[in-house]
Symmetry: C2
Subunit: 188 residues, 2 copies
């Protein structure tokens, strides 16, 4: 729980009362390895914080699905577009390892926005930083080759490669596992 508070504090100074409102809504939940946290077609009900575990976002496909995101401990996780619009999710969320989350519901978060002075500031800054991440990703997808994306990913998030099968990383950078294998061979 203390880690969540620290994350919120990176956005803005947090009063004790506001933290009490927020933290009182959080519930702990555990998922096994390869647990489905959100199924495609369902509406995201939760904003969650990862205490431990690694999470993957993907669109299930008949032959090898399309992975487009990973999330690590001490970050928020949510199918945030589905969560915000409260409409069915186009993709699926699963745990790649044993995972423990703290989470609150959409309605609870709306309550936090309405009853705390600080809720909207944190919500704004969180949405802003998620927006910046997606902006960066857009330029990466349009502007870089698969090889450049691989190299950048490797230098920015080396820990990714310790915990995540290459086939998911291949999908994330937009190529098949075979193509990634050849990229890796080429650059060694």
């Amino acid at each position: 729980m203390e880690e969540i508070r620290e994350l919120l504090e990176t956005f803005t100074k947090l009063e004790e009362d506001d933290w009490k409102v927020f933290s009182s809504k959080l519930k702990k939940i555990h998922f096994p390895k390869r647990g489905i946290i959100l199924k495609k077609g369902q509406t995201e009900k939760y904003l969650s914080f990862i205490e431990s575990g690694v999470i993957r976002f993907y669109i299930p496909k008949t032959e090898s699905d399309l992975t487009f995101g990973f999330i690590f401990p001490k970050e928020f996780v949510s199918a945030y577009d589905s969560f915000l619009s409260q409409t069915p999710c186009q993709y699926q969320v699963e745990s790649l390892s044993e995972t423990t989350l703290w989470r609150l519901t959409y309605q609870d978060l709306q309550d936090v926005y309405e009853t705390t002075g600080i809720g909207n500031v944190i919500g704004r800054k969180n949405a802003e930083s998620l927006f910046m991440l997606k902006s960066k990703r857009e330029l990466s997808l349009l502007n870089e080759s698969a090889e450049e994306r691989y190299l950048n990913l490797f230098s920015e998030r080396p820990n990714l490669f310790e915990q995540i099968p290459l086939k998911y990383i291949a999908s994330y950078i937009g190529v098949t596992p075979q193509a990634l294998s050849r990229i890796r061979k080429r650059i060694t």
Copy 2:
């Protein structure tokens, strides 16, 4: 100005006092056709609202630059990632036609956040909807072929094709003008 108020009202109910604070900061500015609104390497100082005109976001390249966004009247426009982080912008923003903007500075917006009750709610909802747009775009780039992106763009924003040269649209959907020309030929 009234149009700006209407846009803000789509986010949340707006008190007269809050609107006065916000609107008092706005300054009108005019750009000619093909005016550079923000140069690559500069830091975005403004959040702007388009009264009239069409705007393009792009990364300048030696041979044909990379266009990744268009903005139309009655929308906010800003190199929002540069604006939020107050760091130099990776890309450039220009007017495709004669353009009139209403804009306020970064510092003025921070004042609005601090002095109005509603600023952070609007800022949050704006960032949230921008995030949702980028999320959708990410899935489109990963999940769809150039041809699908073209067809979707055509059905979602037909007005785009009346005002914007095909070569920019080609770049936006991630192919060369030649490839787009062939796509168009194929599907007619």
